[in-house]
């Protein structure tokens, strides 16, 4: 969406060097890649361990952490089908084809803005990297992390380790406030009188709700969409989302892998993905 220059991508065979299970189908994997270790928050990589009858294509995963010095990056992964399972099943020392870093990440906020991060599901992963880039005292930003139940907040401890200020909520009240993540968000926005900026990444209904809130309050907001993706290069055109660019007569299908995945929420035509 923005045309900020992003670090150059490369297609390489990379070693998976560290595997941490986070319980259930959740895990964190660390790969060696000089290129991807330069990724910006909100960028992703396409990963495929090996040829597999049911996995013709690579799968996209957000960059959760980077270590440019060591030339490493990490992803947070939820194994749900053949593609993500194949990645999750990698043994330490085994390799995978990694293409990245890809896409346009989050636009940095201005120093005088208060930052509200809203994440759900694997959508919180990019905020781990983003928070590192905010380098300011934690009072100036807060992550609102919601899920159906406590079991669906697998990253809480990991994110707290990173010193992030987090407000938790679950639909069933098994952890944090009971209800939707948007409730504590609205409360915080009501209490906020200075400049604010919103960033959302997670299930589409959540991002759509946050976009509406931002619109009502005229707060700048970016959302990170996650359509199906096949290549990450802008060539398969399988990942298009409907975007209304200013000055264009009508919304157009645009590849989220190259023009996104992060978009200004006011440009997104919802309900098409």
């Amino acid at each position: 969406m923005t045309s900020r220059t992003m670090p150059p991508a490369a297609d390489r065979v990379c070693r998976m060097v560290k595997r941490e299970s986070l319980g259930g189908s959740y895990s964190m994997l660390t790969f060696e890649s000089a290129e991807v270790s330069k990724a910006q928050a909100g960028q992703f990589a396409m990963i495929q361990p090996a040829v597999h009858a049911d996995v013709t294509l690579r799968r996209p995963f957000s960059i959760m952490d980077t270590d440019p010095a060591e030339g490493r990056f990490s992803i947070f992964l939820k194994a749900i089908g053949p593609g993500s399972r194949a990645v999750a099943d990698l043994r330490e020392g085994e390799s995978a084809r990694v293409l990245g870093p890809l896409g346009h990440g989050f636009t940095p906020p201005f120093a005088d803005e208060r930052v509200f991060l809203v994440g759900g599901g694997y959508g919180v992963a990019p905020f781990a990297l983003f928070s590192q880039g905010l380098n300011r005292d934690r009072a100036n930003y807060r992550l609102f992390y919601g899920g159906r139940s406590a079991a669906e907040l697998p990253l809480v401890e990991e994110l707290e380790k990173r010193g992030m200020a987090i407000t938790l909520s679950t639909d069933d009240g098994t952890r944090g406030e009971k209800g939707r993540v948007t409730a504590p968000l609205i409360a915080a926005l009501d209490a906020e009188h200075g400049k604010a900026r919103l960033y959302a990444c997670g299930p589409e209904p959540m991002m759509h709700a946050v976009a509406r809130i931002a619109l009502e309050r005229k707060i700048p907001c970016e959302v990170s969409l996650d359509p199906w993706m096949g290549c990450g290069l802008g060539t398969c055109l399988g990942c298009v989302v409907k975007i209304q660019e200013p000055g264009e007569s009508k919304p157009k299908n645009r590849p989220a892998c190259t023009e996104g995945p992060v978009f200004d929420s006011t440009r997104v035509i919802w309900g098409h993905h």
Binding site: D54, T56, L57, R58, R97, H272
Partner: protein
């Protein structure tokens, strides 16, 4: 030193490896990942006169060792391609083949004329085989008379090499290969995708928003090799083999079957820089078989009597 140069009509390719239409965008999208000068050429995404927004999503579904797609030929249109894309594409040292589409015979001719007048377009691939549009496309490619008409019109409209791309969804591919040769084609691309349908059993809807789609990938290779072999025996013009190529061995099957060059499609998505490996494997094979030139391998299949 192994010779890999091949000729497709008046078009000379550095090596016989090309990126297939719709799987490498307009070339520029992959230029920072793949050194385009290591390819014989690239074939653009299908282009009509005007820009198209394509089909709704989902547009792609995976099937065993294959891919089903219905992109619906989203594209910028031939004029925007020439004005906005070609200048950058020209800076790369590779041959550019425009994949020509049309809803009418006249549109094919008009797109071909504009492409031919542009600086930096080296050949025309005539897409009469796209299964994912409601008008034109496959309708032209499954009727020998229409095939002849479209190819003749493009032939008249251009001095560039004309390369019709055949549909595999026919009873006898040789009928269409001959129709193209008679209409003045310089070569034949063999083949486009196979019409398929995958269903999401929970919603009972097709897995693609368009409904049916085109099947590609390793799954179709034995069918594409067979058609390449049949077409090569039916006509004198060169055949460009396409379908499921994922390794040097796969490419070699097509050359042995009679292909003068090959295109890689689906694998561009998962292995955009596969070309170096394929070229290395071909050179190793030719050397081991004491062949100094890829052209010596073309059509050397020993088919049982």
């Amino acid at each position: 030193m192994t010779a890999l140069k091949v000729r497709i009509g008046s078009l000379e390719l550095r090596n016989p490896l090309m990126a297939a239409s719709g799987t490498c965008g307009y070339g520029v999208e992959i230029a920072n990942i793949v050194d385009l000068s290591t390819l014989g050429g690239i074939v653009t995404k299908g282009l009509y006169m005007s820009a198209r927004d394509g089909a709704e999503v989902p547009r792609i579904a995976e099937t065993p060792s294959g891919l089903l797609n219905a992109i619906g030929l989203q594209g910028v249109g031939i004029r925007a391609f020439v004005e906005k894309v070609l200048p950058e594409l020209r800076t790369h040292d590779t041959k550019v083949i425009v994949n020509v589409c049309g809803e009418t015979v006249d549109e094919y001719a008009e797109v071909s004329r504009i492409a031919s007048d542009a600086d930096g377009v080296h050949a025309l691939e005539v897409n009469i085989s796209c299964p994912n549009v409601k008008t034109g496309g496959i309708a032209f490619g499954t009727d020998p008379v229409m095939t002849h008409e479209v190819v003749s019109a493009v032939r008249r409209a251009s001095r560039l090499p004309v390369i019709p791309k055949l549909s595999p969804n026919v009873t006898d591919i040789t009928v269409f290969a001959r129709a193209c040769e008679e209409a003045g084609a310089d070569a034949i691309s063999c083949v486009n995708t196979f019409l398929g349908l995958a269903i999401d059993v929970e919603s009972r809807k097709p897995r693609l928003a368009f409904g049916t789609g085109g099947l590609s990938g390793p799954a179709i290779r034995p069918l594409a090799v067979r058609m390449t072999w049949q077409a090569a025996r039916a006509v004198k013009i060169p055949i460009i083999g396409i379908g499921g190529i994922a390794s040097a061995n796969d490419a070699l099957e097509f050359f042995i079957a009679g292909a003068r060059a090959v295109q890689v499609g689906t694998l561009n998505f998962s292995r955009p820089n596969i070309y170096a490996d394929i070229e290395a494997g071909i050179v190793e094979y030719l050397t081991r078989h004491q062949l100094s030139d890829i052209n010596e391998l073309v059509g050397t299949i020993q088919y049982p009597a």
